[in-house]
Chain length 256, copies 2
């Protein structure tokens, strides 16, 4: 019996979602996936972690002989639980997260639970990748991206990543033409223009529901959004050092 390297797998849509299954099955030929995924949808959870409440985990049989757990916590919690509680003395080689049902380009990386699992992996010192498909549907077609998931994961398995870097990979939705290729991209300067739908509960109390429109005023052809809109896969290397070094000289000129 050959020992395949352990890859931790999580997502934010929840353990029952198709994208997670696609990811697990894509890497199982060359890795031993260990799945720790939320027991409920955790989309848009950003880098939330659970500190005020307990976390529960339960063994899951959804993936047959593959070791899997459902976790009451956030995606970032799942990686912490996997690394510190489930693996114990076993070593994981890397972290993969997704495949998210829906793209995570531009500032969505901040809100994305998928990417928070990947960035938590990077914080734990592991190479990490978050995968997202530009299709929100529960029954989205992932068949055109399996080969790319394998190639990108193998590259990172073999080469590692610079310390503190996680990859944000976005796949175009299936189109008539095959995917044109891969673009290493920067995060587009695009944003969500929010609005709130106002309604009333059956008892007549008002509530709000967040809605919004994605606005891209970034005309660069080197962005993740450009790549995705032109049927390329975008790969943005992301880091967790948020320091805006370019603003330090200005602040140092202020007299407080």
């Amino acid at each position: 019996m050959t020992t395949k390297p352990i890859i931790l797998v999580s997502n934010d849509d929840g353990i029952t979602h198709k994208g997670l299954r696609v990811l697990v099955e894509s890497i199982a030929s060359f890795a031993e996936p260990i799945v720790v995924a939320p027991n409920k949808p955790q989309s848009a959870m950003g880098h939330a972690i659970t500190i005020h409440y307990p976390i529960t985990i339960n063994k899951s049989h959804l993936f047959g002989s593959i070791e899997a757990y459902e976790c009451s916590g956030t995606p970032a919690d799942c990686i912490k639980v996997a690394k510190k509680h489930i693996l114990k003395e076993r070593e994981a080689l890397m972290v993969v997260s997704g495949v998210n049902h829906g793209s995570n380009t531009a500032v969505s990386v901040l809100y994305s639970g998928t990417m928070s699992a990947a960035i938590e992996g990077a914080l734990e010192g592991l190479p990490a990748i978050g995968f997202s498909l530009d299709n929100h549907g529960a029954e989205a077609d992932f068949s055109h991206i399996v080969d790319y998931i394998q190639r990108i994961t193998l590259q990172v398995m073999n080469n590692g990543l610079p310390k503190g870097v996680a990859l944000n990979v976005n796949f175009p939705n299936r189109q008539t033409e095959p995917i044109k290729g891969i673009r290493i991209a920067r995060q587009a300067n695009a944003y969500w223009s929010d609005s709130f739908v106002e309604r009333e509960t059956p008892a007549g109390r008002p509530y709000l529901w967040l809605s919004g429109e994605f606005i891209n005023n970034d005309h660069g052809e080197d962005t993740d959004e450009w790549a995705l809109q032109h049927n390329y896969i975008s790969i943005v290397p992301c880091m967790y050092d948020l320091t805006a070094h370019h603003a330090m000289a200005l602040l140092n000129s202020w007299t407080f």
Copy 2:
């Protein structure tokens, strides 16, 4: 009656916390605070937003004549609600968040709800500051920082900030010596070494509770942690572009 500029105020500890009151009272002499803060603790919520559930807001009378609302959402939600639902045609000049009970140095910026409110402000195109005090106590002493809150807020009010930048300001806990001054700093390369406390519910079911130890192996004297530990105020300019530009050349050399 002179019109003072509107400053949106939020936090993550919740609307009843002392740090929020300190912040509101600190700026009320030169600004019109409008408070939209969580109706329950939202620490460590990262940049979570509420998309799967409705959000409710209620007018709060906790701040007397100052306009205030408690909101069922996350800190990032609070800023969205404030900007898009409460202000409507009124214009806010900036966003301030905090004062957090507990420091938010190093990677804590990723987990911090306080900073997510500030970064959401930056995403909305507003200059924004997150304030944190290195004391977790509910009755923490904020009296030594009021003057600094005012000076830092006034600087940003008068000068603005580069687009996409929010300030992460950490104050040392009150010490025998007065604060030594302000340091413009970078995010320390320090992290939380997590562990989980394992216990059982009264019914005998196992649960985990996240614990951890803060580890700082960053010996730089230009970090937020160094400043805080040496009785300086740290100001880290933060940005929401996570692109690791330094890793792009490497990735472009890979053949997928």
